[in-house]
Structure formats: structure tokens, C-alpha cells
Amino acid sequence: MSEEPTLVVSKIRSGTVIDHIPAGKALDIISVLGIAGKEGLRIAILMNVESKKLGKKDIIKIEGRRLSPEDVSAIALIAPTATINIIEDFAVVEKYKVMVPNIVMDVLVCPNPTCISNKKGEAIRTRFRLTSRDPLKLQCEYCGTIISGDEVVRLVIRKR
């Protein structure tokens, strides 16, 4: 993990570091992960720090939390450049780049109000198929609606 010397934040013992987030997207990710700050988790959010790859980037460090596959899909949709570092005993034990899966389940809400996935009282999971990675485009498997660009970010389900 590329720690920046300009801003000192203590290392975490075990948990997750989300690195290489495009600058300004950290708060979106916090919201999508459902972190309200009342959970008692130690969290550091670094915004607009220098990055060799991105110019400026955001970083999130969360002590004591592992991400679910849905969490990772959601992060990939908001911050396609992000990398996930799993930390145990102050060491990176796993590191990977996020990737939008071909089928995105339960992460996005369909913008079409008459899509069956928006019908109240149905136990239905939203399901989108990735039709293009760059530019990012996904299609609702139920109603066929295509979503792209910034709209995708707005449609990621916020847990908070």
C-alpha cells in the first residue's frame, strides 16, 4: 500500500484500507457502506492527498471491518480505480483492484418507477448486467433500462 508521507494517520491493526479512490468520492463510499460513525469503528478518511497515478486521491481506513462482495461491487461502481487492502496485524495480507462484476446484484436501484424491482411488497433483488466497462453502462435485467455515467453513482443503494 502506498502510504503518503505528507499526512500522518496511524496504521490500523486489522481491517480494510480502500486506496486510489478518485478525489472527492470518499464520502460517497462511506455512505454506501452504511458507516454513520456511531458504530465505534476507528475510521480515517483522507481526501485530496497526492497520488502518483491519479494526481489527487482519497483513502479510507476502517479498523475492524471486512467488506462483503456487494460492498466491493458498490465501490467499483463509484470508484473504478480503487484498490482494497486487507490488513491483519498491521500488515497487508491481501490486495486487489475492485472490478464491476458482469452481474450486479442488490447494489443498484432501478431508476424506472414502473420496473417490477421497484414494486412494493415483493421480495425481489435488483439485477443489472454490465454491457460496457468503459464508458460504464449497465442494463436492468427486468425492465431493460440502460444506466450510464454519473447516474450509476446516484443509483447505488445507500445503506445510510
Binding site: 414502473t114 414494486k119 415483493e122 442494463q139 427486468y142
Partner: protein, 311 residues
């Protein structure tokens, strides 16, 4: 014979089928024509559920007659009943109930994707008889069969699809159906605000269909072999103001037809409102009453194929 694409499969979208599948369906339909006045026993002992959560007369009756001609029993949920169900019970629960009573479920619903959702829940095959603005595959099967009968082919013709292409499910399924064949040219003619949806354009591009969007019928009428017309889908336009703006914005008139090929055939899934001058009804251009007549035979063929009965 049971090993067809149709056997025990859901019928949700035209995009799930290939050209060969439709050709097989058309052959079956020819067989069924012979029996449209008799009662067959091909589906004796089978129960077909008609779950029409959205008001419908034409399509529901057509399915009912088709199922009964084949000897099946029919149970149905219509209008009032669907209303009382929709108050308390989820669609999923209703589908589970119908699934225990029947061998096949025909569903119409105002939500897009309702048929796919029902198919995920039901063990038995589900036929989509219209889901919101999205699909109406059995109508498209009838439309394409009608063209085959009238012209002897579906390939090589120039098509115009006129009307509310944004909210029209019959037009969407017709357009998807054409992509299984080789149309010479396809014109999509609509007011700006009722343009065909992005996902439909996407399919046309992917499948290499030669098409063009137009704003008025007058520009292309002389080129067309088939003109497919649909009404404005008032019930699906969310904003009444938007409806007022487009009301009466297109109409096929006798005047316009002066510029048409004499072989031109006009199709319409019915009911029509005011988008075709009624004086056209008695001209050789009008093919919509023939089209309506084929409805039962095509649906008989489809039910037989899905349930695996040979004519």
C-alpha cells in the same frame, strides 16, 4: 418433437428466440388453421392460468379461445379480482398459487419485468402477454406471421413503425422480432418525445439492422411495404401535460396514402383510436383485421409447442 426451443420454456421476449423458432411456430400455425372451428384434445387435462392484472379484452379472449380449442381448462384472474389481490398479496404469492393449480401461466401486468419475475418464481412456463411498456411477444409473433402470409416473406421488405414508440410494447416487440429476419430498411417514425428507447436502439445497432429515425410519415411513405401503427399509450405517459402535447400528433390519412406503393399493407395491434382514418379500413391497405383473425391460431400453436403437444 418436444425438443424445441419452446418446449417447457418461458415466452418473455422476442429476443429469446431465433428465426428457426418462429418458422417452426408458423408451420404449426398453418396446422392450427385447419382446426379453428373444432375442439381438439391436444391439451386435454392441462390447466392454463390467465393472470391479467391489467385490463384487457382482446388478448385475454384470444388466449382463452386458443387454450379451449386445444382442450385445456382455463382459470383466470381478471380486472376486479386482480385489484383485490393487489391490495393485500404480493405478485409472488399470487404466482405461487396459480403455479400449483396450472401447467402454464399467461401474465399481463403494468410493471416492466413482471413476467420475468413471475417466471423466476413459477415452476411451470410463463407466457408474457404484456409487461408495461416493455414486451408483448405473442403480438409480435402474430404480426410477423401476418406479414409472412401477405408477402410470402419477412425478409427484404421496407418497414415503417409509426407512433408512440417510447411506451408501446407491441411496437417494441415487433421491432425486436424484425431483428430475427433481414428487413431491407426500418423506419422508426414518432414525435420527438415518443422516440424509441435507448435499449431498443442498442439492439438494432448490435444486430446490424439498417434503420433510421424520422419525425413524419410523409417523408418515407413512398418507400414502405409495411406500415405498423400503434396508438398513443395514454395510460403509460406519466405526465398528463405530456400526453396533451402529443395527442393527435400523427395520423395515417387517405391523402398520405396517395404517395404509397399500391402493395403497402398497414398493420395495427388494435384497439385503434384515431391514428388511422377509418375510411382506410375498407381499402386493400388495411391488414389489421386479418392480423387480428390470426391471433387465435398463432396462440394455439404457441401453447401446443410450449406444452409439447403435436397437432
Amino acid at each position: 418433437m418436444k425438443e424445441t426451443t419452446f418446449y417447457h420454456h418461458d415466452v418473455l421476449s422476442m429476443l429469446d428466440f431465433r428465426r428457426e423458432d418462429l418458422e417452426l411456430l408458423f408451420n404449426y400455425t398453418e396446422e392450427m388453421h385447419k382446426y379453428t372451428n373444432t375442439k381438439l384434445s391436444l391439451l386435454l387435462g392441462k390447466v392454463v392460468s390467465l393472470a391479467f392484472f391489467e385490463p384487457s379484452t382482446r388478448t385475454r379472449l384470444s388466449f382463452e379461445v386458443a387454450a379451449k380449442r386445444l382442450g385445456a381448462d382455463v382459470i383466470s384472474i381478471t380486472g376486479e379480482e386482480s385489484l383485490s389481490i393487489s391490495k393485500g398479496e404480493s405478485l409472488a404469492d399470487t404466482i405461487r398459487m396459480l403455479d400449483t393449480y396450472s401447467d402454464l401461466i399467461v401474465i399481463r401486468h403494468r410493471y416492466e419485468g413482471a413476467a420475468r419475475y413471475a417466471a423466476e418464481i413459477a415452476e411451470h412456463p410463463v407466457i408474457n402477454a404484456g409487461d408495461g411498456k416493455q414486451h408483448h411477444p405473442t403480438q409480435a409473433m402474430i404480426d410477423l406471421y401476418t406479414i409472412k402470409k401477405l408477402f410470402g416473406t419477412i425478409d427484404g421488405l421496407s418497414y415503417g413503425v409509426l407512433g408512440d414508440l417510447r411506451y408501446g410494447r407491441a411496437s417494441t416487440s415487433f421491432i425486436y422480432g424484425l431483428t430475427l429476419f433481414k428487413p431491407k430498411k426500418l423506419y422508426l417514425i414518432s414525435p420527438e418525445s415518443l422516440r424509441v428507447r435507448e435499449e431498443v436502439l442498442q439492439v438494432l445497432k448490435e444486430r446490424g439492422i439498417v434503420f433510421e429515425e424520422k419525425r413524419s410519415l410523409g417523408e418515407v411513405i413512398g418507400e414502405l411495404d409495411v406500415l405498423y401503427v400503434i396508438r398513443i399509450q395514454k395510460e403509460r405517459i406519466p405526465d398528463p401535460m405530456e400526453y396533451e402535447k402529443v395527442r393527435g400528433s400523427y395520423k395515417v390519412t387517405l391523402d398520405l396514402l396517395k404517395y404509397a406503393k399500391k402493395e403497402l399493407k398497414i398493420l395495427h395491434p388494435l384497439p385503434k383510436v384515431d391514428e388511422i382514418d377509418e375510411r382506410i379500413d375498407n381499402t386493400p391497405y388495411a391488414a389489421y383485421f386479418i392480423q387480428a383473425k390470426y391471433g387465435v391460431s398463432v396462440r394455439m400453436a404457441l401453447l401446443a409447442l410450449v406444452l409439447g403437444a403435436e397437432p
